[in-house]
């Protein structure tokens, strides 16, 4: 069984490095017109800046060691953790897509997309550890806050209630 720490290194470290490298190497391979290319580059770079800034705001709040749930003195449920349970990962996923878009790299986009199942697997593994460590508190938090994408949860709730 893969540990979440090892998988995190693969997905967050190697995965992001791979997307960045592939995007740079295959930069400009997405063939669209001149104006759409400018629009995609601008949107991609704006999204990259926003997601990187917000991801860094979260990461700079983590303790130096943050591999295990026991490295945290409290369960994070405030700020971005009110919106979804894994805001740091969500922002990294957005950043991976944004960098590929800003470099107009089709292969970069495909790599970022190919990594999504690994992100989901990583989150599932982490959540198992979080449930074991925080117990009922984490289960209650899971009830209240969606895993990754806030909109889907709200839409789901609305359809259930209707």
């Amino acid at each position: 069984m893969v540990s979440s720490t090892a998988l995190r290194k693969v997905v967050v470290g190697a995965g992001t490095a791979a997307v960045v490298a592939i995007s740079i190497i295959t930069s400009g391979t997405m063939h669209v017109g001149r104006l759409p290319a400018h629009v995609l580059r601008a949107c991609g770079s704006m999204a990259l800046f926003a997601s990187a800034s917000l991801a860094l705001a979260i990461h700079r709040s983590y303790p130096k060691r943050h591999d295990l749930p026991s490295d945290f003195s409290e369960l994070l449920t405030e700020g971005p953790y009110r919106v979804c349970r894994h805001p740091f990962y969500l922002l990294l996923i957005v950043a991976q897509f944004s960098i590929s878009l800003s470099m107009l790299s089709l292969l970069g986009l495909l790599t970022a997309a190919a990594l999504i199942p690994l992100w989901v697997l990583l989150i599932r593994l982490e959540e198992k550890e979080l449930i074991t460590y925080w117990g009922e508190r984490y289960l209650e938090y899971m009830e209240r806050v969606p895993m990754l994408i806030p909109v889907l949860r709200k839409a789901g709730k609305r359809s259930k209630s209707s």
Binding site: A42, M46, L48, L56
Partner: protein
Amino acid sequence: MASGMGRRGGLLFWFIIYEMVSWLVAAVSGFITLRFGHARPVESIGFIFSRDPLNAVVCTWLSNTSSFFLGAVLVIINPFLGLLSVAYLSLSLGDLLASWLAGYCPTPHLIYGVVETQAYVLLWLLAVRTYLSQRLCGGLTCRWLSTVSQVKRLLPLATASFLVLAAVEVAEVLTYG
């Protein structure tokens, strides 16, 4: 946070460092191009003349916006990395300077180039401010809220600034080009 701005490592410190690097790189690269390379006519002037004004404004605007935000990513990771963005940007100013000294670039375009470089540097300093506030904030919520508000401010401000600059550049090239 305000008390941190004047100290070493504060906003004023980074302003001075960025300005120094910007002028130094522009002067050195301009000199090297003029002395050892060959100064060429400015590409942006040819680009603007080759298309209709509205298209030129939009392309210049979007191109500058994406360059700015890609550079700002380095700044937000660490302002020292941001020096790479400043240095890279200043290489274009160096080219412009060499081109002006060789008589290929009209003076108004050189002035525009200086203004544009200053706009980049000043807007990147806003990203430095976001970095500094992230460092100075005590907890996650403070860090998150301050970053959200500063990103919300910087996105429209930079986009609008580069739109105005693009319009000014195209008007300046069409008038004095």
